[in-house]
Amino acid sequence: MTYQFDFAALLPYWREFAMGVWLTLQLSFVATVLGFVLGTLCAIGRSDGAPWVKALVACYVEVIRNTPLLVQIFIIYFGIATLGLHVDANVAAVLALVVNVGAYTSEIVRAGLESIHKSQLEAAECLGLSRPQTYWHVIVRPAIERVYPALTSQYVLLMLASSITSQISAEELTAVANRIQSDTFRSFETYIVVGVLYLALSFVVRIAFWLFGLVVFVRRRKLGTAL
C-alpha cells in the first residue's frame, strides 16, 4: 500500500466543514421538531381517531416505512416541481425528512400510548378530568416519557439520514464534503473527516437529548432511571 494520506490538504476547508456541521444540525433540528409534532398527532389519531383517520394514518405509516428515504426525497422534490411550484432543495429536504420521521415517530409514540394502562384513564375520569386534560396529563406525557429512549435513537438516525438529502443538493455536511473532495481530489481523507464529524454529531445529539430529558422528565432524574 503506497497511498500517502494527506489530511493537511483539507485544512484550508475547515470553515466549510464547520458550516456543513452547522447546516446538518439545523436541518436535523427542524425535521426533529416538526416530525415529532406530526408523529404524535398521527399516533393519537391512530389510537383514538375516527375509523377513516385510523386508516389514513395506517396507510401513511406503512407506505413510508416500506420505501427508501432516498426515493421519498426524489418523489417530494420532483413531485413539487411537477405541480409547477419551484421549491428550494433545502425546503424539499426538510419536508421529506419530516414526512419520513413522522411515520416512525407515530409508531413509537403509539407503542407508548398503548402501554398506558386503562386503569389510569379510569382514575383520571373519576377525578373529573376532561378528555383533553386526561389525554395530555395521563396519557401523552407519560407515554412520551416511556418511549423517550426509542425516540432519541430515532432522531439520531434521522440526523445521520439527513446526509441522504445531499442527493438533491440540499445544503448540509455531506453535500459540503462532496464539493470539497471534488476540489481537492482527497476523497478518502474527506470522507474520513466527515465520518468522524458525523460520529461526533451523533454523540452531541445523544447528549442533547439526554440533557433535555433531565430537564423535562423530573422522575427519571430523581430515580436515576437511565435515559
Binding site: 389510569q120 375520569e125 373519576c126 386534560q133 407519560p142
Partner: protein, 242 residues
C-alpha cells in the same frame, strides 16, 4: 332527602352473564356501608355503576341528586361529588405524590398552583404522609401509595367516597395503616361505601353491611348482623372468611 345513594332494581350484564340482578340499597348521609360477598357476587360492579364507570341496563341509581342511570348524565359534575379509590391505587407514575393530588384541583376546579399545593399538603397530612409529598409512586410502599390515592380523592372534597377492595393488594401490615386512615375518615362524618374482604373492619366501622350474593342484595343490616347471620349463605360466607 337523607339518602346520598340509592339503587333501585339495578341490572347489569357482561355479555350473557347477568352480574347485577335487581340490586337495591340506600346509603344515608354520614353512613359507612360495607359491601361484602364472594368474588363474582357483583359487589365491585355495583360500586363501579354508582360512579358511572359502567352503564346499567335497568333500574335507577341516584347519587347526591344525580340520576346516574340517565343517559344524559353529566359525568363530570357527578364526579365532583364522588371520589373513588381503586384496588390497584392507579396513581399517575410520572407525577409526585403532591402532583398527583394537585392535578384534578388545578385542572378541574381551576384552583391556582399555590392553593392546590396547600390543599395537597393538607390532605397528605390527613393520611399521615406530609413527608412524602415529593416522592414518586414507585418510591412509596403499597400502603403509602394507597393513602396517597385516598388523599388524591379527598382533595376534590367529595360528598361520597367509594373504596373498591382498597386493601386487597396489600400485605396485612400495610393493610392496617390504610384501614386506620379510612376509620378516621368515617369518624369525620364522610359518607363511604366500601367493597371489602376485611370482616373485622366492616364489623367495627360500618354502620351498615350489605351482603351480596348472585347479583342481588341477599341480606342487609348493621355491623352486628355478621355475628348473627339470618341466611345460610351469609353464615357460610362469614364462617369461611374468618
Amino acid at each position: 332527602m337523607s339518602a346520598v345513594v340509592s339503587l333501585t332494581n339495578v341490572e347489569k350484564s357482561f355479555g350473557a352473564v347477568k352480574v347485577l340482578n335487581g340490586v337495591s340499597f340506600e346509603v344515608a348521609r354520614g353512613e359507612v356501608a360495607a359491601v361484602i360477598g364472594q368474588s363474582g357476587s357483583g359487589k365491585s360492579t355495583a360500586l363501579r355503576c354508582i360512579n358511572a364507570l359502567e352503564t346499567i341496563e335497568g333500574g335507577q341509581i341516584m347519587v347526591c341528586g344525580h340520576a346516574v342511570h340517565d343517559p344524559k348524565l353529566d359525568k363530570k359534575t357527578l364526579r365532583r361529588d364522588v371520589g373513588i379509590v381503586f384496588q390497584s391505587y392507579n396513581l399517575f407514575p410520572h407525577l409526585t405524590a403532591e402532583q398527583n393530588i394537585m392535578l384534578a384541583p388545578t385542572c378541574v376546579k381551576g384552583i391556582g398552583k399555590a392553593a392546590a399545593r396547600d390543599l395537597a399538603r393538607e390532605v397528605l397530612a390527613r393520611v399521615g404522609l406530609e413527608a412524602k409529598a415529593d416522592h414518586f409512586p414507585e418510591q412509596l410502599s403499597g400502603g403509602q401509595q394507597q393513602r396517597v390515592a385516598i388523599a388524591r380523592s379527598l382533595a376534590m372534597q367529595p360528598k361520597l367516597m367509594l373504596f373498591d377492595e382498597v386493601t386487597s393488594a396489600l400485605d396485612p401490615q400495610l393493610t392496617g395503616e390504610v384501614l386506620k386512615v379510612m376509620e378516621d375518615l368515617a369518624r369525620g362524618g364522610m359518607t363511604m361505601i366500601l367493597v371489602t374482604h376485611e370482616m373485622a373492619f366492616a364489623r367495627k366501622v360500618a354502620s351498615k353491611v350489605i351482603y351480596m350474593h348472585q347479583g342481588t342484595v341477599w341480606e342487609t343490616g348493621p355491623g352486628a348482623m355478621l355475628d348473627d347471620p339470618k341466611t345460610p349463605e351469609l353464615r357460610a360466607f362469614v364462617g369461611s372468611g374468618l
